[in-house]
């Protein structure tokens, strides 16, 4: 069975600070990992993915994530954070190239001036 955990329901930080949103997963085989962002009233937008290879992957909007097999994590990072980064972020796990995504519960990020 696959599962994704985003332990922080809400994160608030100051503009200019570094952000790191946590994601851990449970899956017995090699994971396909994704981050999506959802702005209020909008749908999900793809940020970045890890499939294989380099464990630090870069995506859109200045975000990057690091895959750590040792502790089954795929944390999202950005520095510095901007107020426009305020949104809900979802980590997702797929079992293969064409498979359903299992999502975490999401982390609501507020970046305050």
């Amino acid at each position: 069975a696959q599962s994704v955990d985003q332990p922080d329901a809400h994160v608030t930080l100051s503009e200019g600070a570094s952000l790191e949103l946590r994601c851990s997963y449970s899956y017995s085989a090699a994971p396909y990992l994704f981050w999506y962002v959802q702005y209020p009233g909008q749908s999900l937008q793809f940020l970045l993915k890890y499939i294989t290879g380099d464990t630090v992957v870069k995506g859109t909007k200045g975000f990057e994530a690091e895959f750590r097999k040792s502790n089954s994590s795929f944390n999202l990072k950005k520095s510095p954070a901007h107020w426009s980064d305020s949104a809900k972020y979802f980590c997702a796990l797929g079992a293969s190239s064409f498979s359903k995504l299992v999502f975490g519960q999401g982390t609501s990020l507020s970046v305050v001036p």
Binding site: K100, L101, V102
Partner: protein
């Protein structure tokens, strides 16, 4: 590229009525996925098609939900005898992967279904 198109954007039905939701995937994408999003349950997978064939419907409530993909340009999700607990945002996503390049799913704007 218009992205994934979903219609209608909002639908209100009475309890017991039928609802049909439409999805047009990105042209050239070979896989279409349906999810629903609620505050309580979060994002839940429903079903998906690849090259129009149903592949995995493990998330579909069996009795009242059905999905089809009659051609490569659209998919439908039909809910019969809608119940208040079916109220959610239904999201369609598409992806393509020609064997190695892209696996991410691109999501449409969603259909907000409200069952009164």
């Amino acid at each position: 590229n218009a992205g994934v198109i979903q219609t209608p954007r909002h639908k209100v039905t009475g309890k017991g009525q039928e609802a049909t939701l439409w999805c047009e995937p990105i042209s050239g994408h070979s896989a279409v996925f349906w999810y629903r999003q609620t505050i309580v349950q979060g994002l839940e997978f429903l079903t998906y098609f690849r090259n129009q064939a149903p592949i995995d419907d493990s998330g579909m409530p069996k009795e009242r939900f059905s999905a089809q993909m009659p051609n490569q340009s659209h998919s439908t999700l039909k809910i019969q005898s809608t119940q208040p607990q079916d109220s959610a945002v239904y999201l369609c996503a598409s992806s393509f992967g020609t064997g190695g390049s892209s696996y991410e799913q691109y999501f449409g704007p969603g259909t907000r279904l409200t069952v009164l």
